[in-house]
Subunit: 438 residues, 3 copies
């Protein structure tokens, strides 16, 4: 099979500095391409190590129609498997998370160990070879406690580079020693790329995010000095430099890294000062958990932000961590999953208050969800046309869109990808216009 | 691109005097054609002037996926714009109606004045030209207070003829001096053409509309004398003649106009006598509002009915007005919007009672909605086949269907229409069988 | 038109002994083919004679988009008609069941007698010929009280063979003298073939159906002796032989018939012993209705099971009957309809208790529904691949799948079927990429 020339044209004719053409937000065919080329061939952030702290702990995540189990095995290694029994195809795990000794299919009790090997089944006779029926594994990796998976057989190799670069930044927050105290799943009524584009700029913050801007400066989120705000941007850059030196002295790397559109496993990171008390993304800028993370002793460490393509962002403060993953549902719906973490020994009601720790991002997520839905509805109009990004405040949006288009192009030239398309085409069914009127 | 030969055959093979083939009620492809050719290239009734009485008042209407804002500008002119910001494509107005000074996008505060000009935005730099980013306008016109829009760049010119002909009929009811006291939105589970066909005959009234027939004679709705009812039809025609003279003496034009299938902007009008007290479409035939419309002093003026293709009908009585608009949602769902209006100075509880004024059409709409759904379900059967319209009671249904087929044919030959199809085809994406099994 | 080569390949490449490829469970195109070739050209179980005990009684059933009325006429014959008025196409009957004198369309009162003849309508004039507008009939047949319909004009002829063979088995339970005391409609979130495959094995029973296994031996449901359970299977076969002689002496045929994959109207039947009290499929194995069926005087008659392709199974005990029909809704949803029957003179609260009589299958249906959904979700994964059936416990599943593939192949060569496809293709509309981005 071949990707249609219309889609190839849309990809190659993308106008730099502008939002995408409407089909990128609406078309179910482009959505399928996104799922195959972007979410099927890149590293996707899906969970955190504290989700599976002990041997046998698992979480189930869905990437499109594909259900994946991420499990801690008996040697404390992280494994990932497709959640499909090799007998009749039943899903093995129903629950979003849990703890098991082995993975037992509830249908006919085929039993797999935590390395995915089929170790027991009945009634299959002598000729049956268990080794041919192990669970299918999925590539998995952890960046200082952030778990990524890649569905492709040959994942982008530069994941290791990101891991190596990011570990010194994240390590001091000791994610593995945290616990998830809250998880919010929001279904946004918009294409996943609108969720991402919205995340990649703070031009909209002043009018939309009063809670967030109590502690956050918008300038850290892709602002370039313009005639109108050059002074404020410079003040902020000066502040970063001063604070950066203090953080470096605490063993916290201060340098910005921005590789948002220059590699397959693309990301950006920077430790950014916070306003008011300067400690945490809370309403008063003070820490929301009295027990600090890891061995940290200072509260006012600003926030380490970490953004990855295509689907995550994270904020690490001295007292708590917030992680976000974006999971496409269909062309017009997206799951935004937010997790809040504190030190595993922190006690609710003593060290932290759940409402105080979550109120800023809960409010912000809700506001962003409205913005995404409104933009999706606008893209639905036949009179929508791509509009210009601001050169001063939407640079990171442009980088997201650049990366997206580049990665579509690169994946469409990838031999593994095109081979899989051809195989599917040979095996599966094309549209049959039997009941042509529907 | 070309419209498929199968659809062209269905259009050209339509059997006169019969209901349409099933795909016209079921096919999402024909629905898309309907939205493009019928709702995209004809004058569509969407609102009434009292919806936007003051400068800055707006209503938002949806025609398919296209959202349009209709606004009263500072000079009291009516303007219509696509509800899409020229920056990132966000919808500007969420609410169904409201009042504004300017149109401000809630995303990044791009600000347009009531003539659609972009008058303010931040962060766009020197090279940015505001004039290139004004709101896209929509053609709009008012027929004595009934607001129609047309999405095409070159709307049918005969709108002016309809306006000129209808104004003398409607003007005495002074729509602009009314207020909307109630609006009902019903989603009917059927194709929009079934909603229209149901409206265009009263053959079904006797068994289905006990409330409506308290005041209405079914004979005025497309009846021709038949062997079985020639006498009653003649009595009714005699009544029209007698009453017509009286109405003419009050300055109310009595002549029937029927252009339902003979022009692009097609319509029919007639002032019809009412039964019982003869004053209004109420349970007892008496006025439901004591304050009469405009300068009217007589109550028993029957009802002026005005039907337009493809999507509206209206009844003007001495005391109140009821307007109906039909808005397709998808091939099997349709929005029926009903508005009740009285004199703007009438006082609820003093001059009129909301229940009394609305009970007849609320009951009738509900009954019709059931009939439409039942017919849609019937059309879904593979054993459905077009059936014959009654030559004596379904003439106006036949005219609706004639008009529909004629207008599809005419629009498919329209250069603007075919150019737009070609442009879309070049720009957008065709089906890509990536995940071929879905 | 032609069925796409991809679907033909999927059909012809089916691997024996394995579950089907994913598109058979997911593709809406294959679903349409299933509805046309399997449900449109085979005998489908839809109701029982007690549903329409008296003249004028009707039940409405839906096969895909097609609504069919099954009615008892004044001569006590069973008739079936498409539920579509020949005038404007309205459905005639809304209710799932009822009783009527004639079939009167609620839209314009066109009136058909119980033989489907149009006997009355108004306003159609002299030229109108009633005989051209009778209801369209559907082939219908009863197997000792089980009502089957076939939508094809030329149904498989071997229905008569099944009827002749089955009547001696079922007749002693006197289905016509029963009443339906309960009907459950469950929508399962899975393809209809998964519902059927699940029904055709009891490998899953031990872990999933504690209530059912109180009275049922799993060995009767397609088990073959294996090294692990040869002894138990032999014990069960010995029990069948002993009990079979006793049942034969009561006039109940003991021989198994298995034609599940060897003819168009395919089925299997066997009277099987029950555990515990051995009387009925209840929690204690005792009858749940004190009044026995027909002239039966013994309680411990085990259960006569009757399975048909493509969509039913039935259990006849001495005291009650349970029937199941499977009706596809779309590729991923299926209606399972269960009816419980007892002797028509049995009195609730005296002879039987509704909870006791229904609790086993209500629990079992719910458990099966979960299994079907889980398997559907598994098939959705791109990493699903066909798995092996157990040679010892899944023989009847293999036969169902064999039958399905054989009947697709046979129907695709059937002249009536291919003619209808061609006719539809000529009449109806193909996909028109007008709004190509959706």
């Amino acid at each position: 099979m071949a990707i249609s020339s219309d889609i190839l044209n849309l990809i190659s004719n993308r106008r730099k500095g502008y939002t995408l053409e409407a089909p990128f937000y609406l078309s179910s065919e482009i959505f399928d391409l996104d799922m195959a080329a972007i979410f099927g061939h890149h590293w996707i952030f899906v969970a955190v190590e504290p989700d599976i702290a002990e041997p046998g702990d698992y979480v189930k995540v869905e990437i499109g129609h594909n259900s994946v189990i991420i499990v801690r095995d008996d040697d404390m290694a992280i494994k990932a498997f497709h959640n499909v029994c090799r007998h009749r195809g039943s899903q093995l795990c129903d629950d979003a998370k849990g703890s098991v000794g082995n993975l037992v299919c509830p249908y006919h009790q085929w039993t797999y160990d935590l390395s995915g090997q089929l170790i027991y089944n009945e009634h299959m006779g002598e000729a049956f070879n268990k080794n041919d029926h192990n669970l299918k594994s999925v590539r998995v990796g952890s960046v200082a406690g952030l778990i990524f998976i890649c569905l492709a057989e040959t994942p982008p190799e530069d994941f290791e580079a990101m891991r190596a670069a990011m570990e010194p930044y994240i390590a001091p927050h000791r994610l593995a020693d945290c616990k998830v105290i809250l998880q919010d799943d929001i279904v946004e009524n918009g294409n996943w790329k609108l969720t991402m584009e919205n995340n990649r700029e703070c031009y909209h913050c002043v009018a939309n995010h009063p809670e967030l801007l109590k502690s956050m400066y918008e300038f850290g989120f892709g602002y370039q000095p313009s005639p109108a705000n050059a002074e404020k941007v410079q003040e902020f850059r000066d502040l970063i430099e001063v604070e950066g030196k203090r953080w470096a002295a605490c063993g916290l790397p201060p340098a910005e890294i921005d590789l948002l559109d220059s590699c397959a496993t693309a990301y950006r990171t920077q430790r950014l000062p916070l306003d008011r008390a300067g400690e945490s993304q809370t309403m008063d800028g003070k820490v929301a958990c009295q027990k600090l993370l890891g061995d940290l002793t200072q509260r006012n460490l600003g926030g380490l932000s970490f953004w990855t393509q295509p689907n995550s962002w994270h904020h690490f403060m001295s007292d708590h961590i917030v992680t976000f993953s974006v999971m496409p549902i269909d062309a017009e719906h997206t799951l935004l999953r937010t997790k809040w973490l504190v030190h595993k020994d922190a006690v609710e009601g003593v060290d932290y208050d759940l409402k105080k720790i979550s109120e800023v991002w809960r409010a912000t997520n809700k506001q962003d969800s409205t913005l995404v839905e409104r933009t999706q509805r606008g893209a639905n109009s036949e009179w929508y046309e791509p509009g210009p990004y601001s050169p001063y405040t939407e640079e990171l949006v442009e980088k997201f869109t650049n990366w997206y288009i580049q990665r579509l192009e690169a994946t469409l030239e990838n031999a593994e990808f095109t081979a899989k398309l051809t195989e599917k085409s040979a095996k599966n069914a094309k549209a049959v216009p039997i009941k042509v009127c529907r």
